[in-house]
Amino acid sequence: MSIVVDRSGPFTHGSNNVSRTMFTVLAALTPATLFNLYLFGWPAIFLFVVTMAACLASEFIAIRVGGGDPNRALGDGSVLITGWLLALSLPPWAPWWVAVVASVFAVFLAKHAFGGLGQNVFNPAMVGRVVVLVSFPVQMTAFVPAKPLFSAGAPGFAESLHITFGRGVSLDGISAASQLGYIKTELSRGVPVTQSMAHLPDLSDMMLGFHPGSMGETALPLILLGGLFLMARKIITWHVPVAMLGTLFVLGTVFNTLDPARHASGWFHLISGASFLGAFFIATDYVTSPVSKQGQLAFGIGIGLLTWIIRTYAGYPEGVAFAVLLMNALTPILDQHFRPRVFGRTRKGEPLPLKGDK
């Protein structure tokens, strides 16, 4: 009888695997996504399908060109998450080509140019979003108020096809700025935040998602639910979300107290823009965030800080994507700097001193 001894133990394994992890993340995103597709209607559904298809196609081609096994790579579900998050980060009525350009950059440039799954430095979905945001600012900031499917004023199927695939409709008249964009514009006109806030839907409506924004910027309770589900399944831990949202909240509250005319409140920062989606689903991306808990805390704090700075002082009303990418660049350094203390050693790596030793 011949026995193969090809590796050392352990000869048992946990039930976790990569595709299970990836599909759990997708499951966690599903409720919020379905609600958003309902809120924004057919154009959002078309855009979602286009983004997913473009990402899948890009992944297939990238792996073909790279000589890998396309069945296996598509099977692990990682590209589905990229496409899904990318779709959620686009304005729901954006034209199809915006989604395709974003997908191509996300998958080819951000992921496969770096060596594919696990090798990329930057979050692919955020690279895709930022590329189209800086290239097509008009399309990327044309938000529409929520018009739920089959409700009065919602575009029909044919009209929606035209919105997504046609030469684009003029959104003048129906388009609206996101809340972050609105207060920023008002501020630049000299209207203090305290006044411009009065024109926004109240915070509870904003939380539910009845406001203009990217798909994933709405329906916070459902995103929170998805995040908690991921924590319960031990896919993510509290470190990144709490650090990021906590930093954002504390900064918002402190500066709002100091100067309410210039700064929006902590709560406003939490529930507007992509704070929640970013904290639970984007910043927690395994590949592009630090591996140790201490590193993850620093990473989360950094994203919160940068998001607040960009929202408050920079030209863009929303800063989560930029903040994530900037912190992605720091991840290797955070990984080097924040290692757990090794058993029996000091933080510096020297053996612990024995009692009596100097």
């Binding site: 009888m1 026995i3 001894v5 590796r7 050392s8 133990g9 352990p10 000869f11 048992t12 394994h13 946990g14 039930s15 976790n16 695997n17 990569v18 299970r20 992890t21 296996r72 692990d76 990682s78 594919g116 799954l117 696990g118 090798q119 831990t237 395994y286 590949v287 592009t288 965030s289 630090p290 591996v291 140790s292 808990k293 993850q296 990984d335 290692r339 757990p340 203390r341 090794v342 058993f343 029996g344 050693r345 790596g349 053996p351 612990l352 001193p353 024995l354 009692k355």
Partner: protein, 495 residues
Amino acid sequence: MKLFPIMGGIHPEYRKELTSEKAIVALPLPEALYLPLQQHMGAPAGTTVEPGDLVKKGQLLARASGAISAAVHAPTSGRIEAITEITAPHPSGLPTLTIILVPDGKDEWAELPDAIADPFAVTPQVIRDRVAQSGIVGMGGATFPSAVKLGLGTSHKLEILLLNGAECEPYLTCDDRIMREHADAVVDGARIMAHALGAPKVIIAVETNKPQAIEALGKAAAAFDNVSVAPVPVQYPMGAERHLTQAITGRETPARKLTADVGVVVHNVATARAVHDAVRQGRPLLSRVVTVSGGAVAEPKNVEVLLGTKVTELLKFCGGAQGAKRFVSGGPMMGQPLPSLDVPVVKGTSGILGLTLAETKEAEPSPCIRCGSCVTYCPCGLVPVEMASFIRHEKLEEAAKIGVQDCVSCGSCSYICPSHIPLVHYFNYAKGRIAALDRERRKMEQTKALVEAHNARLERQAQAKREAAAKAKAAKEAAEAAAQAQSSTQGGASA
């Protein structure tokens, strides 16, 4: 008892129920016994018998050679058939020198050393000598010669003998059964060992998934003030020496030091039983309890097996293991893959597992997604993902700098890795390579030192020669000068 948390660790599927209620049964006498001279850490034992010799049960077959070594005895009476090389029960499958004993079926005892009537009245040295004479090694699987470890009391001030009954490896129940069925022997052996170590206190640590063992030991220990039983949480690798020490005492053993440096020595419960047998009955180590288990094994059992019994015989006794994907010696987490079933049970064989594919859950590794689980679960505070990537690029020094040599190979990282990356395999490779490179470097340094010493000596000799020559020349010149001066004064005088 107050316990202290240990970091990381996992909760694998334990599957102890396969054998935990199976009382220890003895294996019928096999047709031949294969006794490797190396069943322990250290130097192989040196044979004291020749082929053709008739030996009795308990007779010495090979004696310890060197400071770290262990004796081998005849598990039954019979004839020495040969002393030859057979496949070692080691993943390498390399040949190892082995005594082959064919039993005569009489099972006749040799004359054994006298029982030590009151082990607490004799000096620790007497106990250590008896343990050494009996060929006892760490039975938990590490197989370090016990007598050497019992000598730690001479160099360290010890407070606690920590008896390890954690048995945190899945499947294995041999220690559980020994604690339940031989609690008195275990406690007595532990007290004797504590005496040999000069440790005033004995704590027996058992994971809470073995309530019957805890109860049995509690009863056996009730009569002794200095012996207590500590139930510890079920958390792999609780049974790792340093982690168990930390869980019980809160003391963290510094890197590159021994637990003895923090006043604790850890021994396995089966070792305590063997010490009891050796001291109280003069019986050397002849057999051990082996858990035969796994999904592929028809009738999983706990078997008292004579050392040297072939694994094939043991499996046959347990109804065979059809459809096993892997055969493992020891537990599934830290056990060694068996290179063949045609190898003997040795002193460190705590289990023989026949595992199905459904149990090993083996899969092709996929790319690392940097999920960080390995960092979260590493009980040593290491960063396996980073070490593995260094090792993959043969950057062994970098890997050493971030602690690969502090890895205890517990396998928690490999177990938890969603990408099925064989992390421990990388670390074992690195540890081996680093040790080899170290040896090479030391050898080079030694050679260099020798060459330098040689050159220095030659230089010294040359220098001495030159100095002698210079001296001789100076003397000669001085003599000549003196002669000349003399002649000139003479000349002057004559002028």
